[in-house]
């Protein structure tokens, strides 16, 4: 976003530069106003809210760190963070590897490429609530699709969402499936930017698929892999819709995540201050990962 004219420090030069880019600034304004309203203002309000007690009728009162104390003393607090960390970790294992492999496979295909790309991307077009509720039916311990398949293979039925041992991983599977298309498409774009000569050279040297992936694909897409890793962490740590719609945080708090606990505080317990405090904590953690991300993308640009 460097404006050419602004490099000259003279006021006249600056003004000329602005004038020349007036249309661009005009377009930018709309976006900036939207972000100010819908992203930045709520963020500032949330930070304020986490130090206040409010009923939205009277003026809020400042309570210092009371809200933070409330959530930290809650026995569900540790559960929520551990579950969120476990979800994020598992989502990385699945959600990171599966789309990458899918992209490599798609990239290697010679026929029906466009069609299969469309098929992989299709689930992204489902509204998230529909996708999640579809899985609720798949997971049904009685007549659900997954247990029917297990039955065909003579494997005993699983409890999926109905057991504290498998509930979290079941949510990870839903999440992976819903985000598969986007991840695959991004990886595919990265793969296609790799010069074909590299593969040709590798093939001439007698490299098979695995060696080509290891020695060409991964080194060439290292940066995008790193960026996706950070984006994935930031996105999955905010997991809410899956536990909200599928498990209500259960069984026995096994799928209670930080975002879900935040929702509980704000909307079920009516304690917006405590919800805000929890939100702020999550935001700080996410900021660390975002800082890494910004750093990497800046290094890349320069």
């Amino acid at each position: 976003m460097t404006v050419k004219g602004s490099r000259r420090r003279t006021p006249g030069g600056f003004r000329r530069g602005v004038r020349r880019n007036l249309t661009a600034y005009g377009f930018l304004c709309g976006a900036l106003i939207c972000f100010a309203f819908f992203s930045w203002y709520p963020m500032v309000r949330e930070i304020l809210l986490s130090f206040q007690q409010t009923n939205f009728v009277d003026d809020p009162t400042w309570v210092g760190l009371d809200n933070f104390r409330t959530v930290i003393e809650d026995s569900a607090f540790v559960d929520a963070w551990l579950n969120t960390a476990a979800f994020t970790g598992l989502a990385l294992v699945f959600g990171y590897v599966v789309p990458f492999v899918a992209a490599i496979v798609l990239n290697e295909l010679r026929h029906a490429k466009a069609y299969l790309r469309f098929v992989v991307y299709l689930p992204v077009m489902l509204p998230p609530a529909v996708g999640v509720l579809l899985f609720k039916w798949f997971y049904d311990p009685g007549a659900g699709l997954f247990n029917q398949i297990l039955d065909l293979a003579h494997i005993p039925a699983l409890s999926w969402l109905d057991s504290a041992d498998t509930a979290l991983i079941s949510l990870v599977i839903v999440s992976t499936w819903m985000n598969l298309g986007t991840g695959t498409l991004i990886y595919l774009a990265a793969l296609q930017s790799i010069p074909g000569e590299l593969y040709e050279a590798a093939e001439l040297d007698g490299a098979g698929l695995f060696k080509r992936v290891w020695h060409v694909t991964i080194p060439q897409t290292k940066l995008i892999l790193l960026v996706m890793l950070l984006l994935q962490i930031v996105a999955t740590m905010q997991v809410f819709i899956e536990p909200y719609l599928l498990t209500g945080g259960g069984p026995e708090n096994a799928t209670l995540t930080v975002a879900y606990l935040m929702y509980q505080y704000a909307f079920n317990f009516g304690d917006f201050g405590a919800g805000g405090a929890l939100g702020l904590m999550l935001m700080v953690v996410l900021m660390v990962f975002s800082a890494f991300y910004l750093r990497i993308s800046r290094d890349n640009q320069s």
């Binding site: 992203s39 939205f56 009728v57 311990p141 109905d162 708090n253 975002s290």
Partner: protein, 457 residues
């Protein structure tokens, strides 16, 4: 990419703060009232929530007719109806308050009233309620839901206590007599076993265990057995008791020994009603409004269901809904709102109790709810007209109706939602884990609940 990243970063905060937006302008009010005008018939406009939505044309027409009739009686009052479906959504309640768009007379569930009162989000209407002529006839236990100390904060629209909803068709199929529903938990257990025995997919008894509904139904069962959620001082949990243990043990037995509760658990509010409507669920804890909902929204048929008293009931958790007042409403608006509520919600043969009209519109008449007056004169009159214009098989609900006159209604505990969230853990444990240790679950829940209750001071 930069702003996108930022927006992702902030998404967590947005959930919360969207509601917070504009709280500073919360004082903005519709400028159509003239506060301070003392004349009794000065023009006043009130906004009232829970007008039936356009998708429900019969009820909406009835409401609009009632508004017109009321305004004819009180030409100085203008009612601006606000529709919504559902009438209240906890997610938007705070946002409406913060944004200054909360109705002057707003709709609430019993479950939320004490929370709203404690947060100072409703007006104290005590100085004005004496004008409501039927106030003295309303059931004291129902009115207590709207009270805090000596102060009154609202009026009821419907009231019901919890009973046992059952599928008569399945009872017959399983060789049970639908006219003699279970009276004890042992009988519930036996009946559930028979119904589950009908084949795969049949569930004898269904129960909630997620999204705070598990804790809510634990409370209903506990009250039924004569137990208490909190001690008399309201500061300590009292559910770690023989009654609390009995609730969980009974469920554990039905789930794991009898296999009569189905494999699918973590059920929430709608799930059981969907199962009831689907015709494969035998019994659940609920009130006649469940049957209404199953009939209207979940493809069940009125004739197939019955409601009995909660087994062995010593007391019953009461539910329902009503109206409270915006804390920023003027005295004139509050007085006008009370006149409307009395007209539409509290007068026999009028408004919601206009059973003759309901019947002519083809709406179901005859369910033994709402029950606002008990045995008081208006209550008798309501029951009489309801019987006269009944369109549903009233005998299916007779056991419930008979019991509700003798069983004590009990309101929800303080910090209800927090306690329910805590007890969801115990309920989900018993229903998803065969080796669940009930003593430990109750002791853990008690320790957590005590922490929450200690903060209530």
């Amino acid at each position: 990419m930069k702003p996108r990243n930022l927006s992702m970063l902030l998404a967590a905060g947005i959930v919360l703060t969207a509601a917070g937006c504009g709280s500073d302008s919360g004082s903005a009010k519709p400028a159509d009232t003239k506060p301070g005008t003392a004349a009794a018939d000065a023009p006043v406009t009130i906004t009232v929530g829970c007008q039936p939505p356009k998708s429900n044309p019969l009820e909406r027409t009835a409401w609009d007719e009632d508004v017109a009739a009321f305004q004819k009686l009180h030409p100085n009052i203008t009612i601006e109806s606000k529709d919504a479906f559902p009438c209240i959504n906890p997610d938007t309640f705070q946002a409406k308050l913060a944004g200054g768009t909360m109705e002057d007379v707003f709709y609430v569930y019993f479950t939320d009233i004490q929370k709203i009162v404690a947060a100072g989000q409703a007006a104290d209407i005590s100085p004005y309620v004496s004008g409501v002529t039927k106030l003295g006839d309303l059931r004291p236990d129902v009115m207590s839901v709207f009270k805090s100390g000596e102060k009154t904060y609202g009026l009821p629209r419907t009231n019901y206590s919890t009973g046992l909803v059952y599928n008569r068709k399945l009872f017959t199929q399983a060789g049970l007599d639908p006219d003699t529903p279970p009276k004890t938990w042992a009988e519930v257990q036996a009946a559930a076993k028979k119904i589950a025995g009908l084949g795969p997919g049949y569930v004898g008894f269904g129960e909630y265990s997620a999204g705070n509904t598990g804790g809510w139904h634990f409370t209903a069962s506990l009250y039924g057995r004569g137990g208490e959620m909190v001690g008399p001082d309201g500061k300590t949990a009292a559910f770690n008791s023989p009654e609390g243990k009995a609730v969980l043990e009974n469920l554990k037995q039905m789930r794991w020994t009898d296999n009569s509760m189905g494999a699918k658990q973590l059920l929430q509010w709608e799930d059981l009603m969907r199962m009831m409507g689907g015709g494969k669920l035998g019994m659940m804890i609920g009130a006649p409004d469940v049957v209404q909902s199953v009939n209207n929204d979940f493809k069940g048929k009125f004739d197939d269901y019955g409601v009995a008293a909660l087994p062995e009931a010593k007391a019953s958790l009461s539910g329902g809904d009503g109206y409270m007042f915006n804390p920023k409403a003027t005295p004139e608006q509050i007085k006008a709102g009370l006149l409307w509520l009395e007209f539409h919600e509290l007068t026999p043969d009028q408004g919601q109790f206009n059973y003759e009209r309901n019947k002519s519109q083809g709406r179901p008449v005859g369910l033994p709810t709402p029950d606002l007056y008990g045995d008081a004169a208006p209550g008798k009159q309501i029951v009489e007209t309801r019987k006269k214009f009944a369109t549903v098989p009233v005998e299916h609900f007779a056991p419930y109706a008979e019991a509700s006159t003798t069983i004590q209604n009990k309101i929800e505990p303080p910090r209800a939602q927090e306690l329910y969230a805590i007890l969801d853990v115990a309920m989900s444990a018993v229903l998803t884990r065969q080796d669940a240790d009930i003593d430990k679950l109750l002791a853990d829940a008690e320790a957590k609940a005590n922490k929450v209750l200690a903060k209530s001071s």
